[in-house]
């Protein structure tokens, strides 16, 4: 389990943050950042490792959020059970969309388009269907008991978000080290070659999409419990599809820590923008879009890739220095 130890170190460090501060503002910031990291980790598995760029991860986020809320409100299911079921529901939606699109052989732009379309269909359905509260949305009843997945303070939410992110990091790390992970990367690098070597490309992509959707749905379910409100624009809106891919791309797609790193950078930039301009609408997104273009242009492997190459430069310099010393 040596590959998991860096994850445990990072999570342990983050778990110490409340010792330094328990200010609600800081905790709220960290909780939303972790939530985006979780949603982004889902995208990262399919997009970063598998090379299948989804522009509609809102389909899974929204399903997670709505399933959590609907099971509680309409069927009286316990919130924790509802949350677990929401993850399964997300995986199911991912499996259905994945089965349809990958069997049809959609990739690249076509895959991006079809995922976008599925998310939009779900959004429109959710905005008219009675079960989702149509245009009004769903308000989860206030019930501040741990059994109901609701808490007096933000602190327990912080630890739950941290635990979910830790779980997603470990899952992705284990996949990365597995045979399945190698297949997935092979599909990303050269699908034809992978096929020729006997990789069942459709099954690999389908599996990745189901797990990816489950992780992102967990983020959606968490959102519902944290904010106690869901509507069609929040759940299935394009904003979450964009943030889901922004975090891993900026942090480093196809790396375990990319989404967490990216989510931190994105949220810090967003906060700075808010401080500078007093929460003007749209400004944070202008910055996100700009950073996205800059990262693609100048750091195609994200911040994680940047760190690796900077380390490489230093390593090279050290090597040259050592070489020169040895020559005297």
């Amino acid at each position: 389990m040596k590959g998991v130890s860096p994850i445990l170190v990072v999570i342990a460090l983050l778990a110490l943050v409340p010792i330094v501060t328990t200010s609600p503002v800081v905790l709220n910031f960290l909780v939303t950042t972790l939530m985006i990291a979780l949603v982004g980790q889902g995208w990262n598995l399919l997009g970063g490792y598998g090379g299948q760029y989804s522009f509609g991860h809102a389909a899974f986020f929204g399903t997670g959020a709505y399933a959590t809320a609907i099971l509680q409100l309409r069927y009286g299911v316990n919130a924790w059970l509802g949350f677990a079921a929401a993850i399964a529901a997300g995986a199911l939606v991912g499996a259905i969309i994945g089965a349809m699109s990958f069997r049809a052989g959609l990739k690249g732009s076509y895959f991006a388009l079809v995922t976008l379309a599925f998310a939009e269909v779900l959004r429109i359905v959710a905005s008219v269907a009675p079960v989702t509260g149509a245009g009004v949305g769903l308000l989860i009843k206030l019930d501040l008991r741990p059994e109901a997945f609701q808490f007096q303070s933000r602190l327990p939410f912080y630890f739950i978000a941290l635990a979910l992110v830790a779980a997603s990091l470990i899952v992705v790390r284990l996949i990365e080290d597995s045979r399945f992970g190698a297949y997935l990367v092979a599909v990303r690098e050269n699908e034809e070659a992978a096929k020729a070597l006997g990789v069942n490309v459709v099954v690999v992509k389908f599996t990745a999409m189901s797990v990816s959707a489950a992780i992102t749905a967990a983020g959606g379910g968490f959102y519902a419990q944290y904010f106690l409100f869901v509507d069609s624009g929040i759940a299935y809106g394009p904003w979450i599809s964009i943030e889901a891919l922004l975090a891993p791309i900026i942090g480093g797609a196809g790396t375990v820590f990319g989404p967490l790193l990216g989510a931190l950078v994105v949220k810090v930039l967003g906060e700075i923008a808010k401080l500078l301009t007093g929460d003007a609408p749209g400004l944070d997104l202008i910055i996100y879009g700009g950073v996205l273009i800059l990262v693609v242009a100048f750091a195609p492997r994200g911040i994680a890739g940047l760190i690796v190459s900077v380390r490489g430069v230093f390593q090279k310099a050290r090597d040259t220095a050592a070489l020169e010393r040895s020559r005297g």
Binding site: Y53, F55, L106, V114, L116, A117, I124, G289, V296, A297
Partner: protein
């Protein structure tokens, strides 16, 4: 229910709406046919063009149809610049990167408009906006008839441009065989940018045709572009004829399903059609290259 008194006007109105879809889709399919990318910034650029037409009227009192004469070349240059100096260099020639860069551009443009003009919905009042043209037993709004005629004109000009000018021939050459075109001395980066410029110019025309009867807000263009995606997929990515016929077809389908199912479900009809076409026949009905 199926009385021709209702059906024929709905059909004709669908064709008129379809003309705008066709024009937006024309730009999208042209860019796809040559650059082989889906321009996710198309919607945001359409919104930007609508704002430009709106302010041309508000600040200078220009009629949108007059403003089109200035905005079309302006948006050609905007599109040219975006491809040549932003998308091209930033993408390093990788398809996945192009998707992300155009998505990033869409986010930046849309939110710059939101930041500058807030979420308010604006309209302009023109004396002829509510005039109608009688056509058999149907009354058609005059701006929509003009839109239909203009679309046909634009398609014709574009066809002549592609067929008979050197630039048009170069565009077709690059679309067919990029490397070969490059080897025969065609400046591919320039042709890419020209194509992107033409696609963007189509949006400026569409925006000017829309404004007399439509509203503008920072998200106004998105509705059209999602439809345009459907049209382009339906007509076959990169097929100009497919975009034109597909646009008209979708306009009619929307109008008829709106008539029978109500407005919001009419929207779903388009998406369901879109997903079905993508899954069943991704090469579209006219799967040829521009």
């Amino acid at each position: 229910m199926l009385s021709p008194v209702i059906l024929v006007p709905a059909l004709l109105n669908g064709l008129m709406t379809g003309a705008i879809y066709a024009l937006v889709a024309l730009g999208l399919t042209l860019i796809y046919g040559v650059l082989h990318i889906i321009n996710f910034a198309h919607g945001a650029l359409l919104t930007a063009a609508m704002f430009a037409a709106f302010f041309a009227h508000k600040l200078f009192g220009l009629d949108p149809y007059v403003a089109a004469a200035g905005l079309t070349p302006l948006f050609f240059f905007i599109g040219y610049g975006l491809q040549r100096y932003v998308i091209g260099p930033a993408a390093h020639g990788e398809d996945r990167n192009i998707l992300l860069v155009t998505l990033g551009l869409a986010v930046v443009i849309e939110n710059t408009l939101l930041y500058a003009f807030r979420a308010d919905t604006r309209t302009i009042n023109l004396p002829y906006a509510f005039e109608v043209v009688e056509f058999g037993n149907a009354f058609l709004a005059k701006p929509r008839v003009i839109a239909f005629g203009t679309m046909v004109g634009v398609a014709l000009v574009l066809w002549l441009l592609m067929r008979f000018t050197d630039t048009g021939k170069a565009i077709r050459a690059v679309a067919k065989e990029k490397l070969g075109a490059e080897l025969s001395g065609i400046d591919v980066a320039h042709i890419y940018a020209v194509t992107f410029g033409i696609g963007t110019a189509c949006l400026a025309i569409a925006a000017c045709l829309l404004l007399p009867t439509y509203y503008v807000n920072p998200h106004a263009g998105n509705a059209f572009v999602l439809v345009a995606f459907t049209v382009v997929v339906l007509g076959g990515m990169g097929s100009v004829m497919g975009a034109l016929l597909g646009g008209l077809f979708v306009g009619v389908v929307e109008s008829l399903s709106g008539l029978y199912l109500g407005e919001s479900l009419g929207q779903i009809g388009i998406f369901v059609m879109f997903i079905l076409v993508l899954l069943l026949r991704p090469s579209g009905m006219f799967g040829e290259r521009a």
